[in-house]
Structure formats: structure tokens, C-alpha cells
């Protein structure tokens, strides 16, 4: 399947919104050291000061600048989302294509493990393991990827099974191509769109889970995270600070997740042309 993603996503209204939102967030996150007026952990003002020209979103209970914290939180969310999405997507492709190509006992073993992991809610597993490791950025990415890959592996395997039957693969085999060569040159390149969809889906869930884990206080307390900001702010709902401390990280998180959902809806429509008619009917 050869798709001009850029063209297709730009033609889709929701997809376009999602893409621009993600690009904006990535820009803010990348430039955080320049945009943030203070380091996020520095105590730079009086506690609980309301928004002012010095502190755009005021300060929290120990006098840290909330706007700076928000920017650095975007970094964590995006790094965790991209990292876990990439890693989980890659594991999915490796397991999915290899079990589709090798088949037999290896295939049934892999799928047995995948099925068993699929019935356990990944959030519960992540809380359990996270409670012991108090994960920071890298450990968190590894942890989330370890529990997110099985769903993608099933999808990739199904796609690889149908790609395997293509005439071009049969032709390559008659020319003496081995399994590894076919996997690298024929199957994986054609998996592109599905792989992308799986990775975006995984990234979305990873961002969700990172926020959730930080909200529960599972992660390393030094990790700058929107979830942790909300956890801390929730204790002070009796003051007026929730307007600039509790709402911004929540809205930022929801916006990020929504942008990724829009992107995956757009991709889903590209992947499944049968959806086009129905969706346009519903959304015109």
C-alpha cells in the first residue's frame, strides 16, 4: 500500500487540526528552555501568587512558576508518547512479521503470549511494576512499551499474513529470497501505514498512562509531568489557585490526547477507504 500521508492528512479536516496541534506542542516542548522564564524546579516567587506579568500562570504552593512547569510537562508527555510509541510499534512489527513469516510453533507461542497479555489491563500492570521502580523518563518509556506492544502485534501479524500472499513476494521467493530478505524488503516497507497507525495509537495510550501514573504518584517525583501537577493542585481546591494551576495541565493533556485521536481517525480513514463514505455523511 503506497499512500501520500501528508496529502491525505491535509485533506482531512480533523487530521489537519490534529497535525497542527501536535506540531505546535512539539515546538513549545522543544523550545521549553528558551520559552520558560524560570527553571521548573526553582522557587522563584511567593507561594500561591496569582497570574501576573512575572508569572503568567502564577506560582504553586512552594513558589515554583507554573507556566514553566507546564512547558516542561509538555516535554515529558511528548517524549514518553514518542518513545513508548516508537518502541512498542517496533516490537509489534518484529513480533508480528516474524510470527506471520515463520508460522508453526513459533507463531502459536507468540500469539499465546500476546493473547494472555491482552486480557490484563496494562494500567494495572504499569502501576504494579511502577510502584517498585519509581520510573523516571527512560524506565517509564521501557515500562509502558513493554505493556503496550501486544495489541499492535496482532494487527501487524494479520496485515503481514495478507501481504505474504502477494504475487511479488512469491516472485521474490522464486528468485531465491530468504525469509529475512522478504521481511526487510517486501513486508516491512508495505506495512508503513499500519505501523504508523499502531504507533500513534500506542503514543496516545502512553501519554494517557504517563499522566495517570504520575497522578497516582507512581512515577519518580522529580519527573515534570502534567499528571503530577494535577495531583498536587488537587489538594488545594479550597483556594482559588485551581484556575491557573489545576485546569491548564488538564486541558493541555486533553488537547494532546485529542490531537492524537484526530490523527488516528484520519489515518484510519486512509487505511480503510470504505469508511470514507460513511464518515463524510456523518460529519458534513
Amino acid at each position: 500500500m503506497h499512500v501520500d500521508y501528508w496529502q491525505e492528512i491535509r485533506e482531512d479536516r480533523l487530521g489537519r487540526i490534529g497535525l497542527y496541534l501536535i506540531l505546535l506542542l512539539a515546538l513549545l516542548a522543544a523550545l521549553a528552555p528558551f520559552l520558560a522564564p524560570y527553571p521548573p524546579e526553582a522557587r522563584v516567587g511567593a507561594a500561591f501568587s496569582p497570574p501576573s506579568s512575572r508569572h503568567w500562570l502564577g506560582t504553586n504552593d512552594v513558589g515554583q512558576d507554573i507556566w514553566s512547569g507546564l512547558l516542561y510537562g509538555a516535554r515529558t508527555s511528548l517524549v514518553v508518547g514518542c518513545g513508548a510509541g516508537l518502541l512498542a510499534g517496533t516490537i509489534s512489527v518484529l513480533v508480528g512479521t516474524s510470527s506471520a513469516l515463520v508460522g508453526g510453533f513459533y507463531d502459536s507461542l507468540c500469539m499465546r503470549v500476546v493473547d494472555a497479555l491482552l486480557v490484563i489491563p496494562p494500567v494495572l500492570l504499569a502501576i504494579l511494576v511502577g510502584a517498585y521502580f519509581k520510573p523516571h523518563l527512560l524506565t517509564l518509556i521501557l515500562l509502558l512499551a513493554a505493556f503496550l506492544w501486544p495489541g499492535g502485534a496482532r494487527i501487524i501479524r494479520a496485515e503481514a499474513l495478507s501481504l505474504k500472499e502477494k504475487k511479488s513476494v512469491a516472485a521474490a521467493r522464486t528468485f531465491g529470497a530468504g525469509s529475512l530478505y522478504i521481511m526487510a524488503r517486501h513486508i516491512v516497507p508495505d506495512l508503513g501505514p499500519v505501523w504508523l497507525a499502531v504507533m500513534i495509537q500506542d503514543a496516545r495510550r502512553a501519554i494517557f498512562m504517563e499522566a495517570g501514573l504520575s497522578f497516582l504518584g507512581v512515577c519518580d517525583p522529580t519527573l515534570h509531568s502534567w499528571g503530577k501537577m494535577m495531583q498536587q493542585a488537587l489538594e488545594f481546591t479550597y483556594l482559588e489557585v485551581w484556575k491557573w494551576w489545576l485546569l491548564p495541565p488538564g486541558l493541555a493533556l486533553s488537547l494532546t490526547v485529542a490531537a492524537l485521536s484526530f490523527l488516528s481517525f484520519a489515518l484510519e480513514r486512509i487505511l480503510n477507504p470504505r469508511l470514507r463514505g460513511e464518515r463524510e455523511d456523518a460529519g458534513h
Binding site: A116, V119, I120, V129, F215, M230, L234, A258, H284
Partner: protein
């Protein structure tokens, strides 16, 4: 043989994975395994005699294999360990918090399924019209919000700004209400967490019912029903709606799983005294026996419910049997 169906094996393997993680995580952590098994609070209460007793109880001086057997034996006796934070066995701590979670998630299950279904039927019936578009856009938007943030929004709006509902808890403390007043008080505290879960969790049911409704309405038997002169509402619910229930039933397992994990987070927001709040407090003080106990019970519940649903589908729809 029912027991050797592939899906039954999946659940057994899944449960084994959880048990293995529960067993190995604390024992592979660097440092004293007793601290990792029991949390920091245990060390304060630790005397040499107690330490000796604990080492014996967990067979910590034996090889890992024998320790694992000892661990499994204790589990099958219903012994989930002892919490030094609460000074009570984990089982009794968990049982104290469980009823509130059951109340909240049970009601949320019924109400979210019902709401999602009715909205889905109505929207699917009016596809492309104002109401359908409104519902579709609002619920898609809500879909992007994490459960706990929706809860926070409701808490801020209804409790902090308008003061309509209590800020948290499940009862008014020290009010010693009785009878009808007690029920009212419980309901008053229940409204917001329940509303949060219903709003967040009805979205998937809504989308499934709606799309199934759209397909069903094009079917021949709907035309027949109309030709017979059936009333609109009868066509909508008795003919089309009933047929659109099928995908909802098939997705019930996933729905329940999301509901259970959602309940954990929503309870924390409203300090509702269920398993979610218990887990949160245990995470704060690193009370590992309670963390393990709560997660084990929740996972076991999810697995058992899903397994029963899987077996139920086989009975409901014999086609699934061939598809596997």
C-alpha cells in the same frame, strides 16, 4: 472439554503472569527483600523475633523455587499478606474498602450502558441531523479527556464553584444518620463520581450502538416493520435497537475493564473510600502488601469477568466457535 479451549488457557497464562510478577518484583529489588515485601512501615515495627517469623513465613532462607511454592500456598489459603501501615491483614483491609467500589462501579456499569445505548439509538435514528451531530461532537470531545480530569472538572464546577455536592468521601462524617437520611446522604456523595464515570464510559457504547443502528436501519426487516405500520418508537427500540445491542454485548468485556480502571482514578479525585483511594494511599506510603493485594484482586476480577463473558458468547453466538 471446555477447560482446554484456547481462551481459557489465555486467562490461566495471564493470571500466572500476574502471580509471577507479584512474586518476583519485591524479591529482585536491591536491598532487604523484607523491606520490599512489607514496605517501610514494617521496619519501624520490626523486632528480631518478628523478623525471624517473617523470614520463616515466606521461606526467605530457602531457594526461590520453594519460596514461590510457599507464596502460592499462602494465596490459596486467602492470605494476601499483612499491612504494617494498617496493622491488619491485607484481606480485611481490602474487604473494608471493596463495598464502595462495588456500589460505584456497579451503578456506573448499568447507567453508562443504558445512557450510551439510548443516546446511540436516538442519534443513529437521526443520522446527520442536529441532535446526532451535537452528540457525536460532544462525546468525541469527551473521549479525549482522561477520566480523572473529567472528574476534576465536575468537582470544581459542582462542588467548589456552586457548592451543590460534597467535596469528597462517601458519607457525612460523625452525622450518625439513620434509615432514609443515610441513603440520601450516600446518594448525595455518590452523584459526582457516578456522573463522571457515566459520562466518560458511555462514549464507546454510544459510538458502537450508533454505527450499528445506521447499518441496521438499512436492513429489510426494518422496512417490513414500517410497512406493517409499527410506531416509530417501536421500530427504533424493539426492532432496530434490539439488533444493535449485539456489538455492545461483544464489547462488554473491554467496557468493564475500562470501567474498573476508570473507577480507580475517579475515586482518587473524589476521595471516595473504595479500592482506588486505598491503592492511592498505599502508593503514597509505599505499603507494598496493600498495593499488591488491591492490584491482584482487581486483575483477578477483570480476568474472571472476561472469561465468563467469553464463555457466554460461545453460547449466545455459535458462529464465534467456527471463527476461532
Amino acid at each position: 472439554m471446555l477447560i482446554w479451549r484456547p481462551n481459557v488457557v489465555n486467562y490461566i497464562v495471564a493470571f500466572f503472569i500476574i502471580l509471577t510478577l507479584n512474586f518476583f518484583l519485591p524479591r529482585l529489588m536491591p536491598g532487604d527483600p523484607l523491606q520490599a515485601i512489607y514496605g517501610d512501615d514494617a521496619l519501624i515495627a520490626m523486632t528480631p523475633e518478628l523478623k525471624l517469623e517473617l523470614i520463616q513465613r515466606f521461606a526467605l532462607d530457602k531457594p526461590l523455587g520453594e519460596q514461590f511454592v510457599a507464596y502460592l500456598r499462602a494465596l490459596f489459603r486467602g492470605d494476601l499478606g499483612y499491612s504494617y501501615y494498617y496493622h491488619a491483614p491485607v484481606v480485611s483491609v481490602v474487604l473494608g474498602y471493596l463495598p464502595w467500589t462495588l456500589l460505584l462501579s456497579g451503578l456506573a456499569l448499568v447507567l453508562s450502558t443504558l445512557t450510551g445505548f439510548i443516546l446511540g439509538v436516538e442519534a443513529g435514528f437521526r443520522r446527520g441531523q442536529g441532535l446526532d451531530k451535537l452528540l457525536l461532537t460532544t462525546l468525541m470531545l469527551v473521549n479525549g479527556f482522561p477520566d480523572f480530569f473529567v472528574g476534576i472538572l465536575f468537582l470544581l464546577l459542582f462542588s467548589v464553584v456552586w457548592g451543590l455536592f460534597p467535596l469528597g468521601g462517601s458519607l457525612t462524617p460523625y452525622a450518625s444518620l439513620k434509615g432514609f437520611d443515610l441513603v440520601l446522604d450516600i446518594l448525595h456523595h455518590l452523584v459526582l463520581p457516578l456522573l463522571t464515570l457515566v459520562v466518560v464510559r458511555c462514549v464507546n457504547i454510544f459510538l458502537l450502538t450508533r454505527s450499528s443502528m445506521v447499518t441496521t436501519l438499512g436492513a429489510g426487516f426494518i422496512l417490513t416493520a414500517r410497512a406493517k405500520g409499527c410506531k416509530d418508537i417501536r421500530v427504533r427500540y424493539h426492532h432496530a435497537g434490539r439488533h444493535s445491542l449485539l456489538p455492545v454485548v461483544t464489547a462488554a468485556g473491554l467496557h468493564l475493564t475500562h470501567l474498573i480502571t476508570g473507577t480507580l482514578f475517579v475515586e482518587v479525585v473524589f476521595s471516595y473510600p473504595g479500592l482506588g483511594t486505598l491503592l492511592y494511599n498505599a502508593l503514597m506510603v509505599r505499603d507494598y502488601p496493600v498495593i499488591q493485594g488491591v492490584l491482584l484482586i482487581l486483575t483477578a476480577a477483570v480476568l474472571i469477568i472476561n472469561l465468563m463473558l467469553d464463555l457466554l458468547y460461545l453460547k449466545l453466538d455459535p458462529r464465534i466457535n467456527y471463527a476461532r
